[in-house]
């Protein structure tokens, strides 16, 4: 192996770049940061904090259901708990954590110095943070949403949804979805236009492909829920009639719009995880992933098919039979691209030499757990069978097998894999194995019995049940599984705390067999990522590079410049001046957040908000050239 790109660069170059790209010191510098790595890390940590909160909510629910006629919580709090659990896990954890991993890793993996719009990126993060905090403030003040994360009208509407509970929910959802859309645009443009020279589309790492497909899905799915929840908010606040059947509105309109977002949402969470799987498997088997074109094709096909399935959430609402058949076939068909990817991974492992470190163990867990969720997924594509298990614990089991198997196992593997890159420290291997083993056992013990509970008649979202139903012992078992999961999460937290207390120990590539560009720079990476941008010579950038890594020279060191390349072949096109750190995205997010919070109470917030947001936006965009910038005209300086 050759010296790394960062190692080759002279100290003077690195010093100059550091001067240009480093954040300002102190708290204000921290708040002004537009570095994709700082923002990405904050995103991951915030999303993980929400994961813990959502997990606590689940734990309380499992305590309540452990015995028949239990009295841990009453129905009102129970309804808030499962609504908060779903909303948190879907809107505040799963999607943000996936985009966050992309925002941190994509620029590094494609050999760039930052995302396309760094200030907008910071704005998106703060918008997400404010939205999440607002929802939880409402919850802790007794105004937690209580109509389910799917918020079906009319239960969530003006007539039955009490207080401001669902208004807070609706505004939070719209606001955090805006953050999601921003992250998607960042990722798409960064991937399209900022790949290092030589990284043509057909050489892009599978991780980057999966992030690209996810970003497109977000862009096309999120606007639906953003507008849908505004319809709900307006129905509640301004007496519009979108979902009021008495005035020609339609309860099913909500469901169509919701699931047109809601089903792709599942793939938005699942597809980036496929990118982690491909990356980690290839590193830990020391093999190129088998069938790259098939893998890319499968990702794209899955992305498209994800938009053709939404009605399978509505099979019991009386859909015309021809429609049912179409959506059944489409739902079953999505098993084909997923199957192809599975077979390709198995072929990769078969041909490779697996190394059983924690990230790889989580990949094995992903296979074993996800395949069960995938099989039950094909089952519920059947309209007759779905009519039995829809809205029962069978579906709870299915969706947790899919989402935990398909997303959380890979994510956990990804935490272990990229933790040294994020922090410069390797997570402990022994605790990692305990973490994995407990999680794997816990997930199966918690969720497998739920299949049976659903088949034996237990509906979802019930706060209690009578002993005669016979559901008691399986529920107790599921609760024991949940306890095991909780212990495994605690083991993870201990592992993280111990590791962070230790001294940095990670070299550029602690795994020694990684293939993607982020492992060519120090751990953690310097503010400018690459002292000299690499020129990429193959699909597996670090495996395919020459003895002397060719690099890009000629980017300015006294200004923040990105190299923009062409869309298909990544040929150098022009240099792009990217903006300095600034406080205005934070202030603009605060102004927008204030507007959305005020919208809970009055529609006039729209008008006040427009004025409130305009000021920080002008300051944000107003040019402040630095010495040496080309000026066409004007300016007091």
């Amino acid at each position: 192996m050759t010296a790394t790109a960062s190692g080759q660069a002279p100290a003077s170059l690195r010093h100059a770049l550091h001067e240009t790209w480093a954040d300002r010191p102190g708290l204000i510098g921290w708040l002004m940061s537009v570095d994709h790595k700082s923002i990405g890390k904050r995103y991951v940590i915030t999303a993980f904090a929400f994961f813990l909160l959502g997990g606590l909510e689940a734990a309380v629910m499992r305590m309540q259901l452990a015995r028949p006629e239990n009295h841990v919580v009453g129905p009102d709090l129970y309804d808030q708990l499962f609504t908060m659990h779903g909303t948190t896990m879907m809107f505040l954890f799963a999607v943000p954590v996936m985009t966050a991993m992309g925002l941190y890793l994509v620029p590094l993996m494609i050999g760039s110095r930052d995302v396309a719009f760094p200030r907008l990126n910071a704005y998106g993060y703060y918008a997400y943070l404010i939205g999440g905090l607002f929802l939880y403030t409402g919850f802790f003040l007794g105004s937690g949403p209580d109509a389910g994360w799917f918020a079906y009208t009319p239960l969530s509407g003006p007539e039955f949804g009490i207080g401001k509970r669902m208004d807070i929910w609706a505004q939070t959802v719209t606001f955090t979805e805006i953050a999601g859309i921003i992250a998607a645009i960042e990722i798409i443009v960064t991937v399209f236009k900022q790949r290092a020279p030589g990284m043509s589309l057909n050489r892009m790492p599978l991780f980057v492909w999966s992030m690209l497909v996810m970003a497109f899905m977000i862009l096309f799915a999120m606007p639906w829920i953003a507008v849908d929840s505004q319809f709900l908010a307006m129905d509640r606040l301004m007496q519009t009639q979108f979902f009021n059947q008495a005035e020609g509105g339609d309860a099913l309109l909500w469901q169509h719009l919701f699931w047109f977002f809601g089903h792709p949402e599942v793939y938005i969470i699942f597809i980036p995880a496929l990118g982690y799987v491909s990356t980690i498997i290839s590193t830990f088997t020391r093999r190129e992933v088998f069938g790259y074109p098939a893998m890319v094709g499968a990702l794209i096909v899955t992305g498209f098919l994800g938009f053709a399935l939404w009605v399978h959430h509505m099979f019991v609402t009386s859909i015309p039979q021809i429609g049912e058949s179409f959506f059944t076939a489409a739902s079953a068909m999505i098993a084909i691209p997923t199957g192809v990817q599975f077979f390709c991974w198995i072929a990769t492992i078969w041909e490779g030499r697996p190394r059983f470190q924690t990230p790889f163990l989580f990949m094995l867990g992903f296979f074993l757990v996800f395949i069960i969720g995938g099989l039950s997924g094909v089952m519920v594509a059947s309209v007759p069978f779905d009519s039995q298990v829809h809205d029962t614990f069978f579906i709870v089991a299915h969706l947790h097998y899919v989402l935990i198997g398909g997303a959380v196992f890979p994510l956990w593997g990804a935490f272990y894999y990229w933790f040294p890159k994020f922090t410069g420290r390797m997570l402990g291997e022994t605790l990692g194995r305990w973490n994995f083993a407990l999680f794997f056992i816990g997930v199966n013990v918690a969720f497998f019995p739920m299949h049976l509970l659903g088949l034996h008649g237990m509906p979802r979202r019930v706060y209690t049940y009578i002993a005669e139903t016979g559901w008691g012992s399986l529920n107790l078992l599921a609760t024991l599984g949940a306890v095991t999961i909780a212990i495994s999460v605690i083991v993870f937290l201990v592992n993280v705390a111990r590791t962070l207390a230790a001294r940095p120990n990670a070299p550029d590539d602690p795994w020694e067999t990684s293939s993607t560009l982020e492992w060519a720079v120090s751990s953690p990476p310097p503010p400018y990522n690459f002292a000299e941008l690499p020129v990429v010579e193959g699909r597996y950038a670090l495996w395919d590079r020459s003895a002397v890594q060719p690099v890009v020279t000629g980017l300015r060191t006294d200004q923040r410049e990105l190299l923009i390349t062409t869309l298909l072949d990544a040929e150098p096109d022009h240099r792009h001046r990217t903006p300095e750190p600034t406080i205005w995205p934070l202030l603009a997010a605060l102004a927008t957040g204030t507007t959305f919070i005020a919208l809970v109470y009055t529609p006039w917030a729209m008008v006040i908000g427009a004025v409130l947001i305009a000021a920080p936006l002008v300051a944000w965009g107003w040019p402040r050239p630095r010495p040496g910038d080309p000026i066409v005209a004007g300016g007091a300086s």
Partner: protein, 204 residues
């Protein structure tokens, strides 16, 4: 191994700004147009979906929308498109005067759209809280109006920068992108206007 070997690349001679699909701001604009366009699409879907719940369209007891103001709005919008095409060409020539005039012009047009929009709301002849028909029609207009207000902000800020601020080469790119957005804004409205103001007449 038969892999071709790449050489190091010197990019110091490359330009520091670009137009159109070469520039990342163009792609960013396209991204936001997609997201905002979809919000309009959702409103249209709602508008069409609730139609089947009414025996007549507009619902019994509701007047047809008036079309005088919408026609004027359409005419003004069509008029603005060549003006913005001219601005786009000026920006690509790096013609500062042209860009300034174009942005002022776009600001005036955007304000005019907003004023006309005020009367368009009244031309709907229904309230947002009357029926689902009223709600959906208002939603289409409100969704598009937020884009109009954004455009007033965008045009005036750009004009201010071009006249008052230090102008950098990238600002010509911004002007060019704002013309792209303009086509989306006006072209989108032509379709929405046909749906909300004119299509109800076809049901008569």
């Amino acid at each position: 191994m038969s892999r071709e070997r790449a050489a190091s690349v010197d990019v110091s001679a490359l330009p520091s700004a670009a137009f159109g699909h070469r520039a990342i701001t163009w792609w960013g604009t396209l991204g936001f147009m997609t997201a905002e366009g979809l919000t309009l699409v959702v409103c249209v879907v709602a508008y069409i979906y609730v139609q089947r719940n009414f025996p007549r369209w507009p619902p019994p007891g509701t007047l047809l929308p008036s079309i005088t103001i919408p026609l004027i709005q359409l005419a003004v919008m069509l008029l603005s498109i060549p003006a913005m095409a001219w601005t786009s060409r000026a920006a690509r020539r790096l013609d500062l005067r042209g860009a300034r005039v174009g942005m002022v012009l776009s600001g005036i047009f955007a304000v005019a759209f907003c004023v006309l929009r005020w009367f368009e709301f009244r031309a709907l002849n229904t309230r947002w809280d009357s029926t689902a028909y009223g709600s959906a029609a208002w939603a289409v207009l409100v969704a598009h109006s937020t884009l109009l207000v954004t455009q007033v902000f965008e045009s005036s800020t750009m004009a201010a920068i071009l006249y008052l601020g230090p102008v950098e080469p990238k600002h010509f790119g911004d002007v060019d992108d704002s013309c792209l957005y303009w086509y989306f804004l006006t072209g989108g409205w032509i379709l929405l206007s046909l749906l909300v103001f004119f299509s109800p007449r076809l049901h008569q």
